[in-house]
Amino acid sequence: MSANNTINRRRFIQVSALAGGGMLLSFNLLSGCKPAATRGAAALELPKEWFEFNGYLKIGDNGLITLMSPNPEIGQNVKTSMPMMVAEELDVNWKDVIVEQASLNTDLYKPMQIAGGSTSVSASWNAMRIAGATARDMLKQAAANEWKVPVSEIETIEGKLIHKASGKSAGYGAFASAASKLAVPEKVTLKKPKDFKIIGTSRKNVDGQKIATGKPLFGLDYKEEGMLIAMIVHPPAFGLQLKESDISAIKSMPGITDAFFIDVYPDRKKKQWCDVAAFSKILAIVGKTTWQVMQAKKSFKSETEPIKTITDKVDVFGTMMDVITPAGFENTTTHKEQMAATPKQVKTVRKDGDPEGAFKKASVVIERHYSCPFLAHNTMEPMNFFANVKDGKAMLVGPVQTPSFMEQSVSDRLGIPIDKVDVKMTRMGGGFGRRLYGHFLVEAAIISDRVKAPVKLIYTREDDMTTGVYRPAYFATYRAALDENKNLIAFHVRAGGIPENALMANRYPAGAVENYLAEEWAIPTNISVGAFRAPASNFIAGAEQSFLDELAEAMGKDPIEMRLELFEKAKSKPVGKDNDYNADRYAGVLKLVKEKSEWGKTEPGIARGVAAYFCHDSYVAHVVDISMKDNKPVIEKITTAVDCGIVINPDAATNLSEGAVTDAIGHAMYSGMTFTNGVPDQSNFDKYRMIRNSEAPKKIETHFVKSETDPTGMGEPSGPPVIGALANALYKAMGKRFYAQPFMVENQPVFS
């Protein structure tokens, strides 16, 4: 851990767009602060003194720059891309920059320190650049004062202030002290995209060296003097709760210092949306080393009882909702039957024209059903958190995607005022949505409070995989009506799931079909669920894009041309209201992927499939090329086209897109959580299939649409559509359509 990554003084920046497009900026006092030992800057000589300009940056007397990265780092590389946005406007040389992870500071960092919804870059696009531009203007003003020249004549380049007319120049370090004492400018001018020097250029992961050499970066690596290890025991099945029982035997095991039952969320009347926890009553075991605590955990035989129906009052972004957890023990086989039968209660979400009438007079009706199982997030670093609760204060350190929300949960649960709860984020061994739900912070805090010592709570892989917060199990029925000339006259989607559906009623092809019907249904469950990378889209994109492929075939059209014709319709003569996509940008990625993949070209032994989708404000299209070897599909190549507006860090964005593609293919092909009488059938990677190196695509070519539009989501949008392109290529390669995920359910060795 770096020693100086806490900003003690609470400061704030308020930013609002002015009518003329300028930015109003106001923040409070600036101050110089003492140097601190900063690791990871071996090649750079550290300054004697740092001058802090705002919570985002400090400039050393020798011109070295420290940039704070406010948002949690889960592998989406924001710790590099967000500081790049500050550095761009500050006009510095990237090699003079040190990046540090900021702690949680809700006053300072706006709009929110969160890793979710692919929003880190887009939501802070202005705030980060304004922070850099403000400091740059203050440095210019300080130089103008000293040199007695108009500030408008001063230029900045790579950390230098230059006045051409007088020939004067100086590094930022020379004016850092003076500048940090100046009044903050009320307005700053941001650069035009054509003037960017850092944004749009590839910069390596700022933690790359530490990752490759195994430095302590992650929550599991964090430790403090006197820290104890804690683990939990939870019921073996959904639908059960732990009963308090005799724990004296485990208390006397080697290295065990304490064991006790806790109730994590006793107050069911005010939970936050991220307080999802299937098991509230759990056993905590505390000891000296992980292995010793694991042995005690293993030896404990829990006593359980069936739950009664539970009603939680949950605050979902300001709206109180009842969340019901039904009693009972559920089975995957029953789930599949229930979903295939479709519940009676189906709700209409959107209706354009007369879909029923159109289906009645259709020459051809196509109806297909798609499904996918529950999925565990399986971040490679299991859930864990450090907590030290003492003297009415709580210090929490570890991996969490929602630090500001969980700070509130810990405050509520322990009755400690929120300003006495501090959260520091470590680098995370993956997020994928799992760490939005931070019950493990609350658990760690309760345990530390109870044992009066610093504690690190660690989930075993089995705990991680069997405590829920899964991707829901989804189902969708698609129907299309064609007239006698094979024209599409009606489109019907009926989406359901356990316990929620994946319907995107206002997305394509809504708006492009005269008669359109979107319906939804859901079946309740006591298996807990949560957001999983590209929630809902991670299923519905694949289903919809597979169906469109089948539809194009029935219409006798090329799948790209058929989609482009629909976009043309959505653009020239849109049907209905609230169509929430831009048909031009959507068509744009399809045209780009068509060109780059040389669509239409045939190669012996290669089968191709195409798909496109819109989510998180970005547009992605893929072409997947498959060959067959020993009756098994091999993904030879994927051509990807992405429109996510301005790309901050192209090579890192490419990496992220490649990863999302590989991740989505893996889950669609191999993965799934199943249940027998409420018990998860998979609890580790011996039975839960993850995609392996040999199964990954052999080649991925990623192309970005050149754009000057503000950046949009990048961490999620590349995943969902590739499932459709994959299914469509599998059909061409194997002669059969794949409707139920995981597609490869037979003969599944753990790795092949």
Binding site: G75, T213, W291, E381, G431, A660, T662, D663, F685, R692
Partner: protein, 151 residues
């Protein structure tokens, strides 16, 4: 509890632990080196990969009592400051996303290149398929191994 002398990264280290303790936890909690990661505890993910006499093994399933005088190399001992060709290739190809599995990937890859200096794609895939990367960086891992093999 029993006292063991281990040869770790070229140095003799003494620990007093339960003989059944997996090497993974001895490395992490008794020798205080964090580069060897816990991922599954059942040798199915590869995050805990180390070298035992130069061969890649999963340290989570290796009780300390079974080590004897074999030489242990962890990521901290692979090179002083990340100069190993595989580590350098990992930076050149900017492989990591979350980064958690990457030390295990690097340890498996460096053991592969020792026995197979110029691996084919199929050999790389076979050797690397015991290491899960949830972020899906497999393609870059393969490219980085090929680049390291050339050095």
């Amino acid at each position: 509890m029993a006292v063991y002398t281990l040869k770790v990264n070229g140095t003799n280290r003494q620990v007093d632990v339960d003989p059944a303790t997996p090497l993974l936890w001895v490395i992490r909690e008794h020798l205080h080196m964090t580069g060897t990661k816990y991922g599954c505890g059942v040798a199915m993910c590869g995050a805990c990969t180390i070298h035992l006499n130069g061969t890649a093994v999963r340290s989570c399933q290796m009780p300390i009592s079974a080590i004897g005088n074999r030489e242990i190399t962890t990521i901290e001992g692979l090179s002083e400051n990340g100069e190993h060709p595989v580590q350098k290739a990992w930076l050149e190809y900017d492989v990591a996303q979350c980064g958690y599995c990457q030390t295990g990937q690097i340890m498996t890859a460096s053991a592969l290149l020792k026995t197979t200096p110029n691996p084919t794609d199929a050999q790389i895939e076979a050797a690397m398929s015991g290491n899960i990367c949830r972020c899906g960086t497999y393609l870059r891992i393969k490219e980085a191994i090929k680049a390291a093999a050339k050095k």
